[in-house]
Amino acid sequence: MEVISVKDVTFKYEGAELPVINNLSLSVSRGEYLCVLGENGSGKSTLARLINGLLTPNSGRVAVYGFDTKDKDKQFEVRKRVGMVFQNPDNQMVATMVEDDIAFGPENLGVPSKEIGERIDFALKSTNMENFRFSQGQKLSGGQKQRVAIAGVLAIMPEVLILDESTSMLDAKGRKEVLDVVKELNDKGMTVITITHYMDEAVNASRVVVLSKGEIVKDGKPSEIFKDSNELVSYGLELPRSTYIANKLIKKGLPLKEGILTAEELSEELCKLFQKG
């Protein structure tokens, strides 16, 4: 089932010469884990903002569950379904205490106070943050802050979760915490769109879209996308480390399988090869 449909969309920031998004079409199905890759200035963050209606296209149409993002009356219907987590964990928290911050979304929607409590329970549980309910947001680590931000979005009960470079300001540990939570949510049926320039994040995804100069230049499974390293480099992207090493080894004549994405896969393949002699 198609949940998000972007059709022939062009978007230009006021005063800019060139459009950031250029006649772009994209369809996202329910339950997908879509990773949008692109270098700085490729238009990937703009695409995210177009999908939840923070921006509206100059031409073309963006529809979320059939609701046109241009329709001002239906703006809430769009945002209720598409939750978005931003880059800087400090700039998304409205309240001082974790619990109050998560309550912000449902309060906006007019959810009765008793149900807000239940939603907070659910959101904290889904992000493994139960122990931090009464903590001061300021005192949490980066990864924990971003998980609170995800919890704040989950309390709105969205169908789609967009992460706009949400791990770029985190350390390795924080990034893993956040990505684990996102993976878990996706396994439970949530549609996920992550916007990033970290190739390693694309490994979790079920589908990867590469954006360059406001256009989609590649669209497919991660293992397919990472086959052609030269082409990716020309879009300003870097391969996941393991894929990079595997591709090099293949070039040197080692009979490894194509489309290796993770270190585990690579080591397993190498071991197999070693056992064969």
Partner: protein, 269 residues
């Protein structure tokens, strides 16, 4: 450094005062501020400070944190004390020595005691009430102003967001100062004007980054369906209970006691 300064010095504890409704606490604070200025004689102050001590013990907050908070205003208190000693005039003054009169000394002492009590009472509210509860309380108390289209909810939200961002901006200022120092900026030498000018390369980046933060926060709030419509609900409901009733009655008794003391003992003992 800068980020060590804490605002909204909430002291977490479970006490009678902590459990009170923030609105009632705010109203009672106003009552006590009025009381501090109603007091006319020494016995009245005895009652006021007795109440303060009692409330501090009841709230289970350390007396030291109250005294520490007073250190911030000690300068103002001393300043007004000295001014009052020299400029207080009465009709038939009793000179103690030089130009110091007994009346002026009394008046100044009372004024200092008033200011000190005022700070202590406000601090007690700050220590026992979370910033969220405080802004909720203010929002609720100002609700009647909605009739004249005063943006009560927006004001409360602005207040709570400002409170939240103070420590963040503080630590950011710290970082910028460090970065500018690394580039050879000098903040410590020169006269006041020179030093103020030296702060410019700190303030401008701080201003720019706070605008950026504001924009991102705005986007985040928008995506979480924020609107100031009346449809909004509140997760935390303020509820006045028996504690608040007890506190109001207690305050009324104290008030009456002080007024009676004023009438029977008279002013300025």
């Amino acid at each position: 450094m800068l980020s060590d300064i804490t605002f909204g010095q909430y002291y977490p504890a479970s006490s009678f005062v902590h459990k009170m409704d923030a609105r009632i606490k705010l109203l009672l604070l106003i009552a006590y501020i009025v009381l501090v200025f109603v007091v006319k004689n020494f016995y009245g102050f005895l009652v006021v400070y007795g109440v303060l001590l009692f409330l501090t013990l009841l709230a289970k907050v350390p007396i030291t944190s109250l005294i520490k908070s007073a250190s911030a205003v000690v300068f103002i208190i001393i300043f007004t004390f000295i001014l009052n000693i020299f400029f207080y005039k009465t009709n038939n003054p009793t000179y103690l020595f030089w130009i110091i009169t007994k009346e002026a000394l009394e008046f100044s002492t009372f004024m200092a005691l008033r200011l000190l009590a005022l700070v202590f009472f406000s601090m007690l509210l700050n220590l026992t009430t979370t910033p969220v509860a405080l802004t909720d309380g203010i929002e609720s108390l100002l609700k009647p102003l909605k009739v004249i289209k005063f943006p009560v909810h927006e004001l409360a939200l602005v207040m709570s967001i400002a409170l939240r961002f103070i420590p963040i901006l503080m630590s950011e200022a710290d970082r910028i100062i460090m970065a500018q120092k690394a580039r050879g900026a000098d903040f410590e030498s020169g006269n006041l004007l020179k030093r103020a000018k030296a702060m410019l390369p700190v303030l401008i980046p701080l201003l720019i980054s706070s605008f950026r933060r504001a924009e991102e926060l705005g986007d985040a709030m928008d995506s979480r369906c924020y609107s100031s419509s009346s449809k909004r609900t509140k997760f935390r409901k303020l509820k006045a209970g028996w504690r608040d009733l007890v506190a109001v009655i207690f305050t009324a008794i104290i008030f009456t006691a002080v007024i009676l003391l004023n009438n029977y003992v008279g002013g300025l003992v």
